[in-house]
């Protein structure tokens, strides 16, 4: 079956999740993604050295990709990379701003070789601005984009988020650029800052900015509502989340819980008074939820049409019937790694089923094949390059 990106070749110079997650999405839709990895191995290989059991982790982002091990700190290595650029459509890199220019591999240089090249630099803070040279970790970006300050426990490192979502921005940007190239014939440079992307995802802050001057209560009610209206409650066997923002949902909750006081008590008469008396309302709600199982709660709420769901644990997600039925729990059979469990693509397209087929490649698995079939090297030449440490396999 024809796929939308089966004529697109991507050189992926990214390290771990940032960048790589986005090119993984492109690979699912037919792009030939060639990872360019250091001959000594990338971060993933060093992680697997700590514990070989960690090796399958790479497949979460590097499924359906190829691996060429290449040292482009050497002149010969750079020549090979440039030859690959000539034959490619997209290059993705995540080095600190300035590194690619120092190696003579920046956009200005590579566009001379291939004017149609789409070149994505994805870094923590982008190529410009006072933080552009900072070492950017995922949690650092969550700190500077205003996300961490919103979490209930700002002293606890947040889960990985910025690297992943920003990478989808990157994939989107690549498709915009390829779309423009279709008619213009021109490639272009994309300067993606994870911090910019996360700021764009921080709706509370965006509201605060456009609503400057309006009462704080409006801003927090719109995005950070009190727990009694939108929150998490303890059940007998775990937790549930409720969404009681609208009047009929509040009434539905009251009915489901058999708790008429939620409606009769004037402290809960409207959305503002509920917010003001959040603690009292929450203790009433939790008094009921903690005496019931999650299934009982969800069932009772659904009887009155009130949104409510179980908080799934990581173990339960693995078994969730909805995710299973949607093809989100994929098992790849890999000759070397055995069964590797990876997530599916979170949207279904009627004409182009996304495919997650092969586990992450071994380091340099496609070095010989790529150099021989794509660049016309002989096998002896590749072996010679290996002896010189320019390539690996």
């Amino acid at each position: 079956m024809m796929k939308p990106l089966d004529d697109v070749r991507v050189l992926d110079l990214s390290w771990f999740i940032a960048g790589a997650y986005g090119t993984g999405m492109l690979a699912s839709f037919g792009a030939e993604v060639i990872m360019i990895e250091p001959v000594s191995g990338s971060l993933m290989q060093s992680v697997a050295q700590i514990d070989p059991g960690l090796e399958p982790l790479s497949s979460l982002v590097n499924h359906d990709k190829k691996s060429v091990a290449l040292d482009f700190n050497t002149e010969k290595g750079r020549q090979i990379l440039k030859a690959l650029v000539e034959k490619s459509d997209v290059l993705v890199e995540t080095y600190r701003p300035g590194v690619m220019a120092r190696l003579g591999l920046d956009y200005a240089t590579l566009r001379e070789i291939n004017p149609g090249l789409v070149y994505l630099s994805q870094t923590a803070y982008g190529q410009t601005g006072p933080r552009s040279q900072d070492v950017g970790y995922d949690a650092g970006v969550q700190a500077t984009s205003g996300m961490q300050a919103l979490r209930e426990q700002p002293e606890v490192a947040p889960p990985v988020f910025a690297d992943i979502v920003s990478s989808v921005y990157g994939a989107m940007g690549i498709l915009f650029a390829l779309w423009y190239r279709r008619t213009s014939g021109r490639g272009q440079y994309i300067d993606l800052s994870n911090n910019d992307a996360m700021f764009s995802q921080n709706y509370l802050s965006l509201l605060r900015i456009v609503w400057e001057g309006l009462p704080d209560i409006m801003i927090s009610m719109s995005c950070h509502p009190p727990r009694c209206l939108l929150g998490c409650f303890r059940a007998k066997d775990g937790h549930v989340v409720n969404s009681f923002l609208q009047q009929e949902q509040w009434a539905g909750a009251s009915k489901a819980m058999g708790e008429p006081r939620l409606l009769e008590d004037e402290r809960f008469a409207n959305i503002i008074s509920r917010a003001t008396n959040d603690e009292a309302a929450c203790s009433m709600i939790e008094d009921w939820t903690s005496r019931h199982t999650r299934d009982e709660i969800v069932e009772a709420m659904s009887q009155t049409g009130t949104p409510c769901a179980k908080v799934l644990t990581r173990e339960e997600i693995a078994e969730d019937p909805q995710l299973r039925s949607r093809g989100m729990l994929i098992e790849i059979n890999d000759a070397h790694l055995g069964t590797v469990r990876v997530p599916g693509v979170p949207f279904k397209m009627s004409e182009i089923p996304a495919e997650v087929k092969t586990a992450a490649p071994r380091l340099g698995e496609h070095t010989v094949d790529t150099l021989v079939s794509l660049l016309g090297y002989s096998k002896a030449e590749v072996a010679d390059l290996k002896r010189q440490g320019v390539v690996g396999y």
């Binding site: 939308p4 059991g53 960690l54 399958p56 497949s59 979460l60 933080r131 900072d134 070492v135 970790y137 650092g140 700190a143 984009s145 961490q148 209930e152 700002p154 606890v156 988020f161 979502v165 989808v168 498709l175 915009f176 779309w179 423009y180 272009q188 440079y189 994309i190 993606l192 800052s193 911090n195 910019d196 700021f199 921080n202 709706y203 605060r208 900015i209 609503w211 309006l214 409006m218 719109s222 995005c223 929150g231 998490c232 989340v241 969404s243 049409g305 949104p307 179980k310 908080v311 799934l312 693995a318 019937p321 909805q322 995710l323 949607r326 469990r341 979170p346 949207f347 279904k348 004409e351």
Partner: protein
């Protein structure tokens, strides 16, 4: 300057955030996005009854769009709608599964009218599966996508509507894939996006847990896919601390060179003990004791002082920026992430800029979100070629 999506017409019949933010990405790149609203307008507009400037909220996800007010319960309005469908490349809906069919605007019906129409449906659980009819909002997708499982107990309140904000990024990507596919094959298609699927796919805890369980030791699993407070990243290597001025900082001496300088800055003999902190693995194992020393050091200094000391030593460190500080943040301002707009009685205000920086087709913010029905006549004239008389008579009949 050229725009990447010039000439693409998007008909957006969705409300709230997921659909509108999807089409925002397209509008930023030059697509003509027609935002359909019912006569009373988008839900957000109701705040404007209390505070007129509250309507500025529409700018966050609807800048660069054309606003059209149409009462689709009226037969003549429905005809206009179908004429718009004929001109559109992309249609977006966010009804509960099944509702679009009841309204006569499901994929099968609209593709008959326009075989080139790419049709995007966004829903909390998608269009299929055992839960697809269950009602839900953002927090429900977070809970069922495992986003609340990072902490035990889970957070008591919503941190951000991250499902509503993340799903559109994937949805816009899907739309672009469909456009590329249509260009190659001539075939349009239906895209079925589930917010729960999105939460799961972005959820590294859940996906790495599933990938690694039964393969690594419990302590390794806890480090990669752990649930706080029993597991997750060692704080002394990758941690947050409270400062003297009630702020927080992030400090991460993960690399060997950073660690050495970090230990010098903190100046604690304990952290120099090679038996306890001589390697990455030892630092991870003894993280709690080490982090307690660091926490004490940080607590005696302001956020600014900590940042300065770490910067001077070359140790990765970032301030936890409070929401109210972002507007003046030097990095975001240097990147053009805050844009001034002016809009009639809404006055002059700032709105977020375009995150994706494309060199040749950067896109631009031409106008803030449309006022209710602001472009109804313009669209009828320019896109459908209606005459003034025809528009006047539609007005008279109460269709517009």
């Amino acid at each position: 300057m050229a725009k990447a999506l010039e000439g693409i017409v998007v008909l957006d019949n969705s409300l709230y955030e997921v659909g509108p933010r999807t089409t925002m990405f397209l509008a930023d790149m030059g697509a003509t996005v027609i935002k359909l609203e019912p006569p009373q307008g988008e839900f957000f507009r109701t705040y404007a009854k209390f505070f007129p400037t509250a309507e500025r909220q529409i700018s966050i996800s609807n800048r660069n769009k054309k606003g059209m007010r149409l009462d689709l319960r009226k037969e003549k309005a429905k005809e206009i709608f179908l004429e718009l469908v004929k001109k559109a490349d992309i249609f977006v809906e966010a009804f509960r599964p099944g509702v679009a069919k009841e309204l006569g605007m499901d994929y099968e019906t609209l593709r008959e009218i326009n075989p080139r129409l790419i049709y995007l449906s966004v829903a909390i659980y998608g269009q299929t599966g055992p839960y697809h009819q269950v009602r839900g909002y953002d927090i429900i997708a977070q809970a069922t996508g495992g986003m609340l499982a990072y902490y035990d107990p889970p957070p008591r309140t919503q941190f951000l509507p991250i499902s509503d904000l993340t799903s559109p990024v994937y949805a816009a990507l899907a739309v672009m894939l469909a456009l590329h596919h249509r260009e190659k094959t001539g075939k349009a298609q239906h895209i079925d996006l589930s917010c729960q699927d999105v939460m799961y796919a972005t959820n590294f805890l859940a996906t790495s847990y599933l990938c690694l369980k039964d393969r690594v030791s419990t302590s390794t699993l806890d480090c990669v896919a752990g649930v706080h407070p029993h597991g997750r990243y060692p704080r002394v290597l990758y941690g947050f601390y409270r400062t003297k001025d009630d702020n927080y900082v992030f400090v991460s001496p993960l690399k060997e060179e950073h660690w050495r300088r970090f230990v010098d800055v903190i100046g604690s003999a304990a952290l120099k003990n090679a038996d306890e902190y001589g390697s990455l693995l030892l630092r991870a194992v003894n993280s709690d004791e080490g982090a307690a020393v660091v926490a004490e050091w940080v607590a005696a200094r302001t956020r600014e002082e900590v940042k300065q000391a770490m910067d001077e030593a070359g140790v990765p460190c970032e301030p936890v920026v409070r929401p109210e500080e972002l507007k003046d943040d030097p990095q975001l301002n240097a990147r053009g992430m805050l844009v001034d707009v002016e809009c009639g009685d809404l006055g002059r205000y700032k709105i977020p800029g375009i995150a994706l920086k494309l060199s040749d087709t950067p896109g631009s913010i031409e106008c803030p979100g449309p006022r209710l029905g602001e472009h109804t006549e313009e669209i009828l004239t320019t896109l459908l070629g209606y005459s003034e008389e025809k528009i006047a008579s539609l007005k008279q009949e109460g269709v517009l």
